[in-house]
């Protein structure tokens, strides 16, 4: 027994002695990486931007815009959503803020670490994407943290910058991005990390210019802004790279998306089909509005109608891209905006083949359409005289319509567009339109359908056109002109109060002058 005790004692002493610092050295995370190469972060950040814009369900960025710009509403097979269609939302709803700032942080990481990792070529694209996101944030929230944002612990309560100043600064930061882009070509081994332009920096420069155009066109109704806008547009003209033309800016696409849950185009995977081609319950949610159909049918614009929507009953699963019902005008049943009864899913039209075709899970998510750029140029040329960019408001307008037909997938797009452009119909045929700005507005509104909901809502707030009917759930004429700062930010950022009291019906974004 004594011996046993001795062994025991010796073993114990050894045991205690073994417990030194090195015993504790097991604190390296085996589950997640401790560091990241900027190119990997960049790929995810691009994809995340696309997903935030088109994903997020009924309260997502694009969806919210598609609803509030009068493109889409819901079928009455789903319970009516008073948050969206009755405007009964709180600061807990429509939180686009948190995911977008989270996304911005990833781009900021790329900008901050690109040089050290010898990936300088990522700085320019990351700056362009930052501007793209900030523009959206301002368009939804007005004043937002900008100059002090994304600094982590260094600034825990970033101040809210003036929205107009942010807009101006975005132009400056896009100029910087262009300088970076021109100086640093992508290393050939890393072009695939860019899922938007595959490392084509000249297209990035064009996208930067297109974004600048978007920022400027939003401000075009602000009195006294003509000089600034003209100067900035002429700088783009001097720079010389031009705009994105003849193609849409899209993220992902074939070669990127995989036919697996969570790895497919988010629009397709949210409102269309699952990865295995099974139709999703939410395919029965979104409906094109009656107003949209009325506008198209009035102009006899059935080519685009059939691409924007499927006839009632939806897509025929055995002939993807075609409707189950005959594709005749009477089978295109749009739903009055916000109506809560009488329009069941099967009895009304589905989102169309321009957005969802069974099996086509790997289309790119569109971040900006070519048509939008052309209509913006048309509006600029129509409004202001001193712009050096070659072309006329009519030529830009007509190219916009042609691009809209192309993006929607109308066969023989140019030919079919020509029919509309020479139809003699007001707001379709340039020459027949009495108010050119209204024609541009209406065609842009149609062209943005299905792809750029937020942009459409912005244009609507800016111009109060077209005359979208009020939601049938609402008893007065008030419509939201912005969304609330999310309670996640107001609860934790003491500077949030500097933005003042927010009334979502009256606190307008700076470019919304009436």
């Amino acid at each position: 027994m004594k011996n046993l005790f001795k062994y025991f004692a010796v073993a114990t002493v050894l045991f205690i002695a073994s417990c030194t610092e090195s015993f504790l050295d097991v604190n390296t995370n085996p589950n997640s990486l401790p560091t990241a190469t900027p190119s990997y972060v960049f790929t995810n950040a691009e994809n995340t931007t696309a997903n935030i814009f088109v994903g997020g369900g009924t309260q997502g960025v694009n969806q919210m815009g598609e609803f509030w710009s009068g493109h889409w509403t819901q079928s009455s097979s789903y319970i009516s959503n008073p948050i969206i269609f009755g405007y009964q939302f709180t600061n807990g709803d429509f939180n686009q803020w948190d995911p977008l700032y989270n996304n911005l942080e990833d781009f900021q990481f790329v900008i901050d670490n690109a040089d050290a990792n010898d990936q300088k070529y990522l700085k320019g694209p990351a700056k362009v994407m930052k501007a793209y996101i900030y523009q959206a944030l301002v368009d939804m929230y007005g004043d937002v943290p900008y100059s002090e944002a994304l600094k982590g612990v260094a600034t825990l309560a970033p101040k809210f910058d003036n929205q107009k100043a942010i807009y101006e600064n975005l132009i400056v930061s896009l100029d910087e991005a262009i300088v970076d882009l021109k100086a640093n070509a992508f290393a050939s081994a890393f072009t695939s990390s860019d899922i938007i332009f595959k490392g084509n920096t000249s297209k990035w420069v064009k996208f930067a210019n297109s974004l600048k155009l978007r920022l400027l066109v939003h401000q075009s109704r602000i009195p006294g802004r003509e000089g600034y806008i003209t100067t900035e547009l002429n700088k783009i003209s001097t720079e010389g790279s031009g705009f994105i033309t003849g193609e849409d800016v899209g993220s992902g696409g074939s070669g990127f998306y995989v036919a697996t849950a969570g790895k497919i185009n988010q629009i397709y995977g949210l409102w269309g089909y699952d990865a295995n081609g099974g139709v999703l319950a939410l395919a029965r949610y979104n409906r094109p509005t009656k107003y949209l159909f009325d506008v198209l049918i009035a102009a006899n614009d059935t080519f685009r109608l059939k691409r924007l929507a499927y006839a009632k009953g939806g897509e025929n699963p055995s002939t993807p891209g075609k409707s189950t019902a005959a594709e005749i005008v009477s089978n295109y049943v749009g739903v009055p905006f916000g109506i809560s009864s009488g329009y069941t899913a099967q009895a009304s039209s589905y989102l169309g083949p321009s957005l969802i075709v069974k099996g086509e899970f790997n289309r790119p998510v569109i971040l900006m359409t070519a048509a939008e750029i052309q209509f913006s140029l048309a509006e600029m040329k129509e409004r202001f005289t001193g712009i050096n960019i070659a072309g006329t408001s009519q030529s830009f307008y007509e190219e916009g319509v042609r691009q809209s037909f192309r993006t929607l997938g109308v066969a023989d797009a140019a030919g079919k567009a020509a029919i509309l452009l020479s139809s003699g119909i007001e707001n379709s045929d340039w020459s027949a339109s009495t108010n050119k700005l209204q024609a541009i507005n209406l065609q842009k509104w149609i062209a943005l359908t299905n792809f750029s909901g937020l942009e459409a809502w912005t244009e609507y707030r800016k111009s109060n056109l077209p005359n979208i009917p009020q939601s049938s759930l609402v008893t007065d004429s008030k419509r939201p002109v912005r969304i609330f700062y999310p309670n996640t930010e107001t609860g934790s950022n003491s500077n949030a109060s500097s933005a003042g009291t927010i009334d979502v019906f009256t606190t307008k974004i700076f470019w919304d002058i009436d």
């Binding site: 085996p30 995810n44 009964q88 709180t90 989270n102 943290p145 944002a149 049938s472 007065d476």
Partner: protein
């Protein structure tokens, strides 16, 4: 050779034991001649003992060489009597002066209760066993002041969160530590341990008591001591318990209106009908899940559509009584126990086996637990050894669907009970079931299963070596290993083309805008399978040196200790989102990619501690503790030592006033003890690997060959270090009226500064969360525990006990600039929050807009008459109960014993999402007013924003729009006081009298009992929804909780339909010993 000697010696010993033992019998009485039931008789120097029976009689086998018997009874002086020649020894015990009660405290240290300077509670096996709960956590509910058990649900694998003295940490762990036989384990043990194996449970409520466990004990500890066996001849105990459970209550249902939704033309559109009865008729549809159709009238109507074979399901349009309740089963569970114990002078053993089966109230849900435990002790002179080994295997088969929710979605005239057999009943099959949106609940539950199997092994070895009378060493090493294999599966179901496109509503029930095909059938179920395996392994070693030396009137004891702890956990999961061949649930039977996750964690700690106890003349005792802890959670080789190695300490003083001043003692005042303690405890409350900012895969990545990473969402501060909690406590214990009244009262206060918390910082910083030492919280309360032996005669005993505790907390400070943040659980419209200057967690919801005149009237829209919804979420109150009270009574008369425990909790609010859901479906009883009316207690705000006028506007579309589009969105409607009173358990036992047992030769004793749990529940009258005790506290994700070893999160106060409904349980039990 040595071994042989030992064996021979043992054999000789046992031989002599058999030959020379003798039996002593007798009676134990008090000075008045009243007999004692259950007084202890022990052979001195051995573990051999017995107790007196109902008549005060005893019989004990005394081995040769023993010559003294010790007689004891609570409240009476212990007496040692020499064994003489006579075999009958009748003994009288005098009333006690000083009662010595030995309790088990931290790290298994046994202490005299008089010496303890902090609040302490012990729950004996009788109390644990009272309601025959197969789960320990539930058995403790209401039995200890300051202890709250939060039940998540009543499934066949109930989960619970045990919190002592409320919340202290804002975002970290607030759960009590679970200790089994001195070994730190995790909450895992609570669901696997056999309550029958428990000898006692000590509750160390404050951080003070747990200083010696290190940081893990900062929230108090549940110290479980299992049975070790008692010396004496072999005793065999067999018991069987059968338990039934049924729903105790369901939410308030309306049974006036059948299925329908908003089909009538909307207000403002062409064809809008002004007569609400017409609109109600238009709203009716045979395939609706919502219940906003016209009033039940008893006529025959179709349910659903015409099936492919032409058949129609025609039913009376009339509610069926209790249709929802009857879709649940009556649960049955059975528990069989077998244990053996016995031993000799030098060794004891205890062996138990358990078989427990549960069939839950959700049809088809079942679980099974089989376990065995072996405990033994053996003494070899100066070396004492103890062994403990248990193995528990449990199987669970549950649905992963939300049966409760699906059931509530069914209108009251559909006889769900007839639709159980979805395979053979065409109206119950997904191709034929009426409901367009929700498949028959019985199909969904069968098609979505969660099967898992736990294997839990625990063991420890304890060695005690007594070097001399003043020095001994002990070492205890323990291991706990838990492994779980789990499979989630969803069956494949392809709907028929008829169901998808052709099923139609026949005349006369068809409406113009109806469509053919079942909406739900449009989406086929492709099936899925996920296979998960997790393991958790804890190793713990405690080495102690015990020194004791008396110097003059000072009794001194010093314990020097050393503790090593290691915990490892692992999770591997693979899955597929499709199943190719139906009913084959293997991930290889798939199309598309595999999904998968891996998680690993390893943490280590070691600590040194000292515990000094000094008593002066037995009436004043000072206990001082010190500990140095070293933790891997804060360790990095480049970090300064004081970031991962930290000291803490405390002192407790116990003063027995009645011993210091015996003159105070009287017939009424028997004993007064005062106590005070102060502690500063360190805590490594940091998520595992929390020091690293990580770059996880972006959502969905990798996409094929494309890699994408993201900057992590939690930014750790570079200077993170352990947090400290200062606790202060004072208390008193009184024994009065011949020790028949015991009163224990405590006041405490805890202050926690520089907490390691995950602060929700503005997202505009780029990081949603910051992990940093900030924040200060206060937590204080009072506890009182009163026990009264009202009647204490030999035939009749009646005890009552009352416990009350008050606990509150406050967020004193957060990060500069941060005034509040939301906890992780909750909804966008109702969530729990941490707010500076308030209690936490605090419930915030949206709500009504109230008239500015202070009248409490709710503002409505002047046109539609609908209530307005406030656009900001407002505080509704704290979700933790401030008041917890328990009451118990125990009544024994002859062979019959009756005991009852009650619990009250209150002073909190809860949000019931069930209310919102049932407003949506129209099932809720509160939605029954569908006649035109003016919204109750309402007013209209004038154009100036100040003046208020009476509301005369009838709500638009009261038959639908009011409820679904308006009332439902106002979350304030579903906030109710969270108080309840429950009869936790009741037990009526009948002990077989000696006259019966003596006739059956081998039978030593037996009892029959009937019992119930939660037979009675009283809740607030505004709570139409569910048991306020339930909480949707999530586990923070399996990966997170497993790797960190933490239980459920802090967000109590939110109920959802994820819980099964509350149940009451009752049953009977037979217990025989041989």
């Amino acid at each position: 050779m040595k071994k042989l000697t030992l064996i021979i010696a043992l054999v000789c010993l046992s031989v002599s034991f058999i030959l020379a033992q003798r039996t002593i019998t007798g009676k134990v009485t008090d000075p008045k001649g009243e007999t004692f039931i259950g007084s202890n008789i022990q052979v001195k120097g051995t573990n051999i003992g017995t107790v007196t029976d109902i008549d005060g009689m005893y019989s004990i086998v005394v081995p040769d060489g023993s010559n003294t018997l010790i007689y004891s009874y609570t409240g009476y002086q212990t007496k040692e009597v020499q064994i003489g020649a006579a075999n009958v020894m009748n003994v009288t015990l005098d009333e006690g002066v000083a009662l010595q009660e030995i309790v088990v405290t931290a790290t298994g240290i046994k202490k005299d209760a008089r010496e303890i300077g902090y609040s302490f509670a012990k729950v004996g096996k009788e109390d644990i066993f009272n309601g025959r709960s197969p789960q320990l956590a539930q058995a403790l509910s209401g039995k200890v002041a300051g202890l709250a058990v939060y039940n998540v649900n009543n499934s066949v694998d109930p989960q619970a969160k045990i919190v002592l003295r409320g919340y202290r940490s804002l975002t970290g762990n607030n759960d009590a530590l679970v200790v089994v036989d001195g070994l730190q384990t995790t909450a895992t043990v609570l669901s696997v341990i056999n309550p029958n194996d428990i000898e006692s449970v000590s509750i160390l409520k404050g951080g003070q008591a747990a200083t010696l466990y290190g940081s893990a004990g900062i929230n108090g500890a549940i110290v479980i001591t299992t049975k070790r066996g008692t010396a004496g001849k072999l005793k065999v105990n067999v018991s069987n318990t059968t338990n039934f459970e049924e729903i105790s209550f369901l939410p308030d249902f309306q049974d006036k209106y059948g299925n329908g939704s908003h089909y009538a033309n909307s207000f403002g559109s062409a064809g809008y009908k002004t007569d609400y009865l017409e609109r109600l008729k238009d709203n009716w549809r045979p395939f609706e899940n919502q219940q906003y159709g016209d009033a039940y009238n008893g006529e025959t109507r179709i349910v659903g559509r015409v099936l492919e074979d032409g058949s129609q399901y025609n039913l009376p349009y009339a509610p069926i009584k209790d249709v929802r309740k009857n879709s649940f089963d009556r649960g049955v569970s059975n528990n069989s126990q077998l244990n053996f114990q016995g031993g000799s002078e030098n060794s004891t053993y205890y062996l138990s086996a358990e078989h427990n089966t549960i069939h839950g109230i959700v049809p088809g849900d079942k679980s099974e637990r089989n376990g065995a435990r072996l405990a033994a002790s053996s003494n070899y002179g100066k070396l004492q050894t103890g062994y403990n080994l248990s193995y528990v295997q449990a199987n669970y088969d549950r649905t992963s669907s939300n049966f409760y929710s699906d059931m509530i979605n069914t209108p009251a005239h559909v006889p769900l009970g007839d639709l159980r057999d979805w395979k053979n009943n065409k109206f119950a099959n997904p191709n034929g079931y009426f409901n367009d949106y929700i498949a028959v609940p019985f199909f969904t539950k069968d098609n979505n299963r969660n099967n898992y199997k736990d294997a839990n092994i625990q063991g420890n070895i304890e060695l005690n070596y007594k070097v001399s009378s003043f020095l001994s060493f002990s070492n205890r090493i323990g291991v706990m290993n838990n492994s779980r294999t789990q499979k989630f599966r969803t069956g494949k179901f392809i709907h028929s083309d008829w169901a998808k496109n052709k099923a139609y509503v026949p005349e006369p029930w068809a409406y113009a805008n109806d469509y053919d095909g079942i909406n739900r059938a449009g989406t086929d179920i492709l099936g899925s399978v996920t296979d998960r395996s997790t393991s958790e392994n804890v190793v713990n070693d405690d080495l102690q040196a015990h020194l004791s030396k008396n110097i003059g009137s000072f009794e001194n004891r010093l314990i020097l200790g050393y503790n090593v702890y290691q915990r490892a956990a692992k999770l591997i999961q693979i899955g597929s989102n499709s199943v190719v061949v139906p009913d084959v649930y293997n991930v290889s039977n798939r199309q598309g990619e595999l999904t998968g996750t891996e998680g690993n964690s390893l943490e280590r700690k070691f600590g040194y501690y000292a515990d000094l106890t000094t008593s002066y003349n037995k009436f004043i005792t000072l206990n001082a503790t010190f500990r140095n802890d070293n933790t891997s959670r804060f360790y990095k080789d480049y970090r300064p030592k004081n970031n991962w190695s930290y000291n803490y300490y405390g002192a407790a003083l116990a003063f027995v006033l009645t011993e210091a001043m015996p003159s105070l003692t009287s017939n009424f005042i028997n004993y007064i003890k005062l106590r005070a303690s102060w502690n500063k405890n360190g805590n490594d409350n940091l998520p595992i690997y929390g020091l690293d900012l990580t770059y996880p895969n972006g959502a969905g990545f990798p996409y094929g060959t494309t890699v994408g990473l993201s900057v992590g969402d939690v930014l750790p501060d570079a200077n993170l270090k352990p947090e400290f909690v200062t606790s202060k406590e004072v208390g008193a214990e009184l024994r009065l009226w011949d020790r028949r009244i015991t009163l224990d009262a405590t006041a405490y206060n805890q202050q926690s500064k520089g907490q390691v918390i995950t602060v929700k910082v503005p997202n505009s910083t780029g990081f949603p969360n910051l992990l940093i030492n900030v924040g200060e919280s206060k937590n204080w309360g009072y506890e009182a525990d009163l026990k009264v032996a009202l009647v204490q005669s030999t035939k009749l005993k009646w005890d009552i006990g009352i416990r009350y505790s008050y606990n509150d907390n406050k967020v004193v400070d957060l990060f500069p600039g941060v005034n509040s943040f939301q906890l992780a659980d909750g909804f966008s419209y109702a969530n729990t929050n941490v707010i500076k200057g308030e209690r936490f967690p605090l419930l915030k919801t949206d709500g009504y807009v109230y008239a500015p005149d202070g009248s409490g009237r709710r503002l409505v829209n002047a046109t539609s008459g609908y209530p307005l919804r406030n656009t900001t979420l407002l505080n509704r109150g704290g979700v933790l109960p401030r008041h917890i009270a328990g009451a118990s009574t125990k009544f024994e008369y002859g062979n019959v014993a009756l005991s009852v425990n009650f619990e009250y909790r209150g002073g909190n609010v809860i949000f019931s999402d069930i209310g919102r859901q049932m407003t949506f479906t129209g099932a809720g009883g509160w939605t029954a007013n569908r006649d035109p009316h003016i919204f109750e207690n309402s007013a209209i705000l004038g154009a100036d924003g100040k003046t208020v006028s009476d509301n005369n506007v009838q709500v638009r579309e009261p038959e639908y729009g009011l409820w679904v589009d308006n009332y439902r969105l106002i979350s304030e409607n579903f906030v109710t006081p969270g108080w309840f009173i429950k009869m936790r358990d009741i037990n009526l036992a009948y002990n077989l009298p000696r006259s019966v047992t003596s006739k059956i030769k081998f039978l030593e004793g037996g009892s029959i009992s009937i019992f119930g749990r939660n037979l009675l529940t009283i809740i607030d009258k505004s709570n139409f929804y569910t048991d306020p005790e339930f909480s949707n506290v999530t586990d923070g994700g399996i990966l997170n909780s497993l790797l960190n070893g933490t239980g459920l999160r802090n967000g109590v106060g939110l109920n959802t339909l994820d819980q099964t409904p509350p149940v009451r349980q009752y049953g009977f039990s037979i217990n025989l010993s041989f």
